[in-house]
């Protein structure tokens, strides 16, 4: 039997420091599926892609095309090739694609009337579908239809005066814990969560090809800055993390298959706005960014309480030695 001891503090060590050469604030940095490429975006209107394997940093692409600050980037699953989506204050969503080693714009979506704040690719099982949340209050869903075209569905007035974040639910077939390997396309229920300036987290569900508001989760008292649906680890529980201008981070869980009863648990109340939440791939650690510009890691203990297990140092002090064989090429 394994002993359930309180976990030792995690070891967080900087293994690579990437100087992006962005000329203004960085707003997002995302690794690709394999963790070998880093995409960054900035108020300098550019999107950059770096090869960061083995602790190095090689600029692969400097993508220009946005006319305002670029807020977020999102990598599509590699089965569709090397595809990156970016969204900007210029009200545009651009989908970039690597062709023959060169990154190019492959699609530009201009259907929003205000800043597009968040982009998120659906689980690859559904095809290429991108959800986009905008300050105009709408959420757009861009689906690649297989003939070089993208189909657009738009949820108008999803969040009054603005949607700040979108995050897809993992692809789980109802009633099945294990992915079915057979050729039959499973009957997925598509869902995603969104957060907005109306202080709400909403859950959207596709029914008969139409997106409908399934749940409205109320707990925050100010703008919801980010939502993150936890990856599936094979359990029937769904989990969403949300963070807000009000400094609060909530963990929402839903145990029933119908997805109707969500209950919030306050992870922590920070003193300042919390900008971003991100789950680890194994869904057991939550990285919380904000509350005075810090990054903290949180883990749920056996008794269901969330505990801060680490502050993340930014490479200044308190960093353990680099692992062997990983050198910064800088």
């Amino acid at each position: 039997m394994c002993l359930l001891l309180s976990p030792p503090p995690p070891q967080v060590s900087v293994i690579n420091t990437v100087d992006t050469s962005h000329e203004d604030m960085i707003h997002d940095a995302q690794m690709d599926y394999y963790g070998t490429r880093l995409a960054t975006c900035s108020s300098d209107r550019s999107v950059k892609i770096f090869d960061v394997r083995n602790g190095g940093q090689i600029l692969i692409a400097d993508l220009r095309g946005h006319e305002g600050p670029v807020w977020q980037v999102a990598w599509a699953h590699p089965m569709y090739g090397n595809i990156l989506a970016s969204c900007s204050y210029d009200r545009k969503v651009i989908i970039w694609k690597e062709e023959n080693g060169t990154w190019e714009k492959t699609y530009e979506y201009t259907g929003h009337d205000s800043s597009v704040n968040s982009v998120c690719w659906a689980p690859h099982d559904y095809g290429l579908i991108l959800a986009c949340g905008s300050s105009d209050g709408a959420i757009s869903l861009l689906s690649y239809t297989g003939d070089g075209q993208w189909e657009v569905k738009k949820i108008s007035n999803a969040h009054t005066i603005g949607c700040n974040a979108v995050s897809w639910a993992p692809a789980v077939v109802p009633g099945s814990l294990i992915e079915q390997p057979s050729g039959q396309k499973p009957n997925y229920i598509k869902r995603f969560a969104s957060g907005g300036c109306d202080n709400l987290v909403k859950i959207w569900k596709e029914e008969d090809g139409q997106w409908k508001e399934e749940q409205k989760l109320e707990a925050h008292s100010d703008w919801v800055r980010d939502v993150a649906w936890a990856p599936s680890i094979g359990l029937p529980t769904s989990t969403i993390a949300s963070c807000s201008q009000d400094g609060r981070v909530f963990i929402w869980t839903c145990d029933d298959a119908s997805g109707n009863s969500w209950s919030p648990k306050l992870l922590h109340k920070f003193n300042d706005v919390v900008w971003h939440v991100s789950w680890s791939i194994t869904a057991n650690i939550l990285a919380v960014s904000g509350g005075d510009n810090k990054v903290t890691l949180w883990k749920e203990s056996v008794d269901g309480l969330w505990a801060c297990i680490s502050d993340v140092n930014k490479g200044q002090g308190g960093v353990s030695a680099l692992p062997e064989g990983q050198q910064n090429e800088q």
């Binding site: 002993l3 995302q30 300098d44 600029l59 714009k105």
Partner: protein
């Protein structure tokens, strides 16, 4: 975009930022009579409910008041203490009264809502403000220069900030400083603003425009810079907002002239100091940057004037505006669609008129043809540039391999100074990749396991596990596992089950004794050692057993031995005797059986031959129903299945022992499994876990996993580690001892193994994860994970596995590509599992030839046929571009559907392109393998990227920086085809230097201000607010003066004035010397690359109202005598022509100018040129400037004003900024006007 509206003519106040939900209080305006000419008044509170999409505000409470209000504010006083949960609402009334309301009580509907009230003022209270730092302090202003400071904790007696200003005048605005708590400013319609220091109890500075046309309707302190404030003028002749810096209070720092008529109200956003709202009699609501003067946003309004405008403190994107048409509107500055609004209007109309037949005429209304212009543009654009509050400064995202990607942008630094500037220039925008390890014990144990596997030290590994195991069961399991690696494993299993051969032999072999019977106290085979039960011994044992049942008889028999008497009597004995004597064994046995003499029967049967023995055994078993019969039956008949199936599970140990002893190798595993199954399905959880031991004996890994998983909490990494350790060891044992294919991996094991590998990967142990992944499996999740792990390590999946790259790379064709023929075939392409290969380009043939092994890894049979094409693919799964145009999909044989093979491609292009494969994989086709070209930034000529392996050095090019960069310049998008690096790469830097101004500016320019040679940057408007201004630490250390940044021509030696030193009233003994002090705040200071030739040739864009340079003589103390009154020297004769010419020109312009605004500008210019004349008198101007001015005069004489402007530009661009800035902009205004008017 309008969010809500309320039909009230009222003053308004938002609830404090701390309040949730957000309320808006409205109090009937004293200035306005609404349409009903009602004189009643009320105080109302509405809730801003943004989850309600309608335009209606939710009314929370109405309180009928006896007062009408000139001013309403809502402060957070006592909110945190809980005394006033919603703070205090403070109203300024008509009769000099200041009234405090408790909004919580208003909302609750209480009758007593007034906390306190005082009518100390002699006239209407038009100005109120709450101190941000001490929220109990409220300043009020009324007529007769009355200003009071109220302490809400002690409301009885107000204080005064000092002696009343003279002459007595109305106080129209009052505002506490946003950085220094004891500084207060007041302003009056006369245009004068006074700054008070409450510590000194006196006014410390007075701010006043020399033209005396200001009619102050608004006053607001800079949210971040302690020394700056704006004043708004209601005068239609001067509809401006002046930005002042108290450090040079002689003239405004900047003048915003966006309104065409008088400004009625202003509001400065606390969330972003770039956002100043103003509304005026031109019916406009503008949002401007006070720091640049740029209008960022114009709210779509009706034609009504707004007299009050307020930012919502809690929701920074929301504002409210009260207009004279009796409406308060709530807007968002983030844009959006106004469809909702129009819908409301339509609804209102239809509810008023009824549908289609408003007047009951019985005639439906004809459809209304709306003229185009009456349909408002439904889309409202957001602010031109993003407000501070949506710019995410920090983030952390997990990625594969337990990596955490973090970035943070340092908060705008608050310590000004040259050092700071350098720091900012050096500030790099870094992203950090960290490895997060949370499961150290898990990793350590995983390493131990790996070592054991590699060194094959299984026995010692198991022994260690046995030694360290805490629980007995755990020890047991490990002991069982260990046995697998030892000789004579079955015997050892038995020993583990508690059966030692020697023990029993000792017991059984006690000679001549029946004591053994005691070993079987209840007839159960508790300590049987079946190995010993060879047939003779078996009989022996059976005899014992039988004897136990018939103890008495046995004893009798024993005594009978003493004599030997062959009885032939007629009884049974006699008959048996007869039969025996005749050799009729069969009859004898029958007789014995009949007489229940079992032992006799069997003994006789042995002599009667094998056949008789078997029959006798059967009969015996049929007759005997003792507890052990079935065991005996099984032993004798070798039917162990029966035992395993029907034994009492409490005796599983014995059953397992029996199986271990007797079962043939070919049935052994099945029997163990069977027993395990039974145990597992038993309700007793203890027994369930024991099933694991059976499975270990059986070597059934899959079952072990299933059983273990069921019994354990499988979610903690250590629990999974517990399982995997056993599984791995058992698999190794199975490989050693059994003929079962060890590579077969069941679905559940695959799941667990990939889960384990995932956990390892999540801790950064990608190599370890790879070693634990089963190698030979077509489980999709394992193949996916293997591929991911390999690539994460920066390798391509190698060897056999590489041929089974788990999914097809599905390229998305370029969006611009037309629907050419082959693309049209896309939808008909066969449906694919995503890990299948659809690419059937000719190269595939090569691959499949080289990699025939790819074929078996075809998708499971359940998937639709590859070649049928009758199943349309899921959208997006088939990228038509990947389909070979030359080969219709229908003709494709399965052999062409090889897995995408990196291995194959590596073989095909072995040396040259290896380095690039990482980037090119999946993009399809032979072209894929072109070597990577240098990546060149398109549309940004100022970047070069000579090689992909080096970080491109950013080479700032001054012309590029000096280009004005409109926010949305509409610059041509680089055509994707132009992205060819060969095209853009050769563009030399020099080219961009020379032609930069002609082409679109580099997109990178806009936010480049804080670094590099910023002195040349005009694009201040693009400077992020956070870097332009920042929170202030104190009154005495203000940050950069943005005035300096705005002027494009800051010279090397320009020194901004010193900050106000405390006390602020210290006379400036020597303004020049102060100016000489090096001072940090100016952003562009000390940029070494600043060179005049890099200055832009374009004319400076100065607002005409902006004054000259912040040079010494422009700094005037407020109490200093105006310079005009000092006796002046005469202008040297040779330069007098300058004065006369300019004055004459201005006069000519004045004569022909028609509109008053131009005249005002010219008047102003005339005055301002006095600076020039002063300099001429002092003879302080450099010869080049003088000669330049004379050239201008010559061009004026020839009426060639354009030439004059050119000379002007030349002077400005080559001269010292501080020398010329006082008069050159004015001169330009004059020249421009002259040119325009053609005088």
């Amino acid at each position: 975009m309008k969010l809500k509206e309320v039909d009230r003519t009222a003053m308004q106040a938002w609830s404090p930022a701390q309040q949730h939900p957000i309320y808006l209080a409205t109090g009937t305006s004293a200035q306005q009579l609404d349409a009903t000419f009602s004189t009643s008044a009320s105080l109302e509170i509405f809730e801003l409910d943004l989850s309600d999409p309608s335009l209606n505000m939710k009314s929370c409470a109405t309180f009928s008041s006896s007062h009408r209000y000139h001013k309403l504010i809502w402060g957070p006083h006592s909110m945190t203490s809980g005394e006033r949960v919603s703070g205090v609402l403070i109203a300024g009334g008509e009769n000099g009264n200041v009234i405090l309301y408790d909004p919580a009580k208003i909302i609750a509907g209480d009758a007593e809502v007034i906390i306190a009230q005082k009518d100390k003022h002699t006239g209407p209270v038009r100005a109120l403000d709450v101190n941000m730092f001490q929220t109990n302090l409220v300043a009020s202003g009324a007529n007769e220069s009355e200003i009071y400071i109220w302490d809400l904790n002690n409301f009885a007696t107000p204080m005064t900030p000092g002696v009343k200003t003279q002459p007595l005048e109305d106080i129209s605005c009052i505002a506490w400083n946003r950085q220094v708590q004891h500084i207060l400013a007041s302003a009056s319609p006369s245009g004068r603003a006074t700054v008070w220091d409450l510590r000194k109890n006196e006014p410390i500075i007075k701010v006043s425009d020399h033209n005396n046309r200001m009619h102050c309707s608004g006053l607001a302190w800079h949210p971040d810079v302690a020394t700056q404030m704006v004043l708004a003028s209601e005068d239609d002749r001067l509809p401006v907002i002046q930005m002042w810096d108290l450090r040079f209070a002689s003239s405004p720092l900047r003048v915003l002239e966006s309104h065409t008529r008088g400004i009625l109200a202003i509001a400065w956003s606390m969330a972003d100091s770039e956002l100043l709202l103003s509304c005026g009699k031109d019916a406009k609501i503008l949002c401007s940057s006070p720091n640049t003067g740029e209008v960022l946003y114009e709210l779509p309004t009706n034609t009504q004037w707004c007299f009050d405008i307020q930012w919502c403190p809690r929701n920074p994107a929301v504002l409210s505006a009260a207009s004279f048409d009796g409406r308060i509107s709530i807007y968002s500055i983030m844009g959006g669609s106004t469809d909702g609004l129009r819908q409301k209007q339509v609804d209102q109309l239809s509810s008023s008129f009824g549908n289609l037949d408003p007047f009951g005429t019985g005639q439906p209304l004809p459809p209304l043809q709306l003229p185009q212009q009456t349909v408002p543009q439904s889309v409202v654009l957001p602010l031109k540039k993003p407000p501070k509050w949506i710019r995410r400064p920090v983030g952390a995202s997990f990625s594969f391999g337990g990596k955490l990607v973090t970035f943070e942008n340092a908060k705008s630094q608050q310590q000004p100074g040259i050092q700071q500037q350098q720091q900012q220039e050096q500030q790099r925008h870094h992203v950090y990749v960290s490895q997060v390890v949370t499961e150290k014990e898990f990793l350590a144990r995983s390493n131990q396991l790996q070592e054991a596997v590699q060194s094959e030290g299984f026995v010692s590994y198991c022994q260690t596990k046995i030694d360290t195991a805490q629980a007995d069961f755990e020890k047991n399991v490990w002991a069982f596992l260990k046995v697998n690696f030892e000789e004579d494993s079955r015997v050892k299993y038995l020993e583990l089950l508690g059966y030692r051969k020697d023990d029993l032999r000792k017991k059984v072999n006690v000679p001549g004794s029946w004591a053994c019977v005691k070993c079987f106290p209840d007839g159960c085979i508790h300590r049987v050692q079946p190995k010993m039960l060879t047939m003779p011994r078996m009989v022996e044992v059976l005899l014992y057993l039988w004897a136990k049942d018939h103890k008495q008889e046995t004893e009798d028999l024993g005594s009978a031995k003493k004599t030997f008497n062959i009885s032939v009597s007629g009884d049974v004995d006699g008959l048996i005797t007869q039969a025996l004597l005749t050799g009729n064994f069969e009859s004898a046995v029958d007789l014995c059986l009949h007489d229940n003499r079992m032992a006799d029967a069997i003994i006789l049967a042995i002599s009667g031959g094998q056949e008789l023995l078997s029959r006798t055994q059967e009969k015996y078993f049929a007759k005997m129903q003792s507890k052990i019969t079935r065991l005996i039956t099984a032993v004798v008949t070798k039917n162990w299945k029966e035992i395993v199936q029907s034994c009492d599970l409490q005796n599983w140990r014995e059953a397992l022992a029996a199986v271990l002893t007797y079962a043939r190798p070919d049935e052994f595993a099945a029997l163990c499994d069977l027993l395990g199954n039974r145990l597992e399905s038993e309700g007793d959880s203890l027994l369930q876990t024991q099933a694991c031991l059976c499975y270990i004996c059986a070597g059934n890994v899959e079952k072990l996993v299933a059983c273990w998983t069921k019994a354990q909490d499988g979610n903690s990494p250590l629990s999974l580690q517990d399982l995997i350790e056993k599984v791995v060891i058992l698999r190794k044992a199975v490989q050693l001892s059994q003929t079962v294919d060890p590579n077969v991996v069941g679905a559940l094991l695959a799941e667990k193994m990939s889960q384990y590998a995932n956990l390892l990967a999540a801790q950064g142990s990608i190599a370890a994860a790879l070693t634990f992944l089963p190698t030979n499996t077509n489980q999709p999740n394992i193949m996916l994970l293997r591929d991911r792990l390999c690539r994460a390590r920066g390798e391509l999946p190698v060897g056999q596995e590489a041929l089974k790259a788990p999914y097809e790379r599905q390229p998305v064709p370029k969006g611009r590509a037309g629907p050419v023929a082959e693309q049209m075939q896309g939808p008909q392409a066969p449906a694919q599992q995503y890990y299948q290969q659809v690419r059937i380009a000719p190269t595939v043939t090569t691959w499949s030839n080289k990699t025939p092994t790819a074929l078996p890894s075809h998708p499971p049979a359940g998937c639709p046929s590859d070649t049928q094409g009758d199943n349309p693919p899921p959208p997006g799964f088939i990228m038509p571009g990947a389909v070979n145009p030359n080969m219709p999909p229908q003709q494709v044989t399965p052999s062409n559907y090889s897995m995408y093979s990196q291995g194959g491609t590596r073989a095909a292009y072995p040396q040259t392109y290896q380095a690039t494969q990482q980037y090119s994989c999946g993009t399809g086709g032979p072209a894929l393998y072109q070597p990577q070209q240098p990546v060149v930034v398109p549309a940004s000529a100022s970047y070069t990227n000579p090689a992909p392996n080096t970080t491109p050095p950013y080479l700032p090019s001054a012309p590029a920086h000096s280009l004005p960069s409109p926010l949305y310049p509409g610059q041509p998008q680089p055509s994707p085809t132009s992205l060819n690096p060969v095209c853009s790469f050769p563009l030399p830097l020099g080219a961009s230097f020379q032609h930069g101004r002609l082409g679109p500016p580099a997109t990178s320019v806009a936010y480049a201000l804080p670094t590099g040679p910023t002195g040349t940057l005009p694009a201040t408007s693009d400077l992020p607010a956070s870097q332009r201004t920042g929170p202030q630490n104190g009154w005495n250390d203000p940050p950069a003066l943005n005035r300096a940044a705005k002027k494009k021509k800051v010279p090397d030696n320009f020194l901004p004035p010193v900050p106000i030193t405390s006390p602020i009233m210290n006379p400036l003994a020597d303004p020049q010397s102060q100016v000489q002090q090096p001072l940090a705040p100016a952003a562009p200071m000390g940029a070494p690359s600043f060179q005049p030739p890099q200055l832009p040739a374009g004319p400076p864009v100065l607002t005409e109202g902006a004054p000259g340079a912040p040079i010494g003589n422009a700094i005037q103390h407020v109490q200093a005598l105006p310079t005009e009154k000092i006796t002046k020297k005469p202008i040297p004769e040779e330069h007098l022509i300058l004065k006369t010419t300019f004055e004459a020109l201005i006069q000519r312009c004045l004569l022909s100018a028609s509109d008053p605004q131009t005249k005002r500008k010219l008047d102003d210019a005339n005055k301002r040129l006095e600076f020039l004349y002063d300099k001429l008198r002092e003879q302080t101007l450099s010869p080049t400037i003088i000669s330049g001015l004379h050239n201008i005069v010559k061009s004026i004489e020839t009426r060639n004003y354009q030439e004059g402007l050119n000379i002007h530009t030349h002077i400005v661009s080559t001269s010292n900024f501080s020398e010329t800035s006082a008069f050159m902009p004015v001169l330009k205004v004059v020249l421009t006007q002259a040119n325009k008017l053609g005088v």
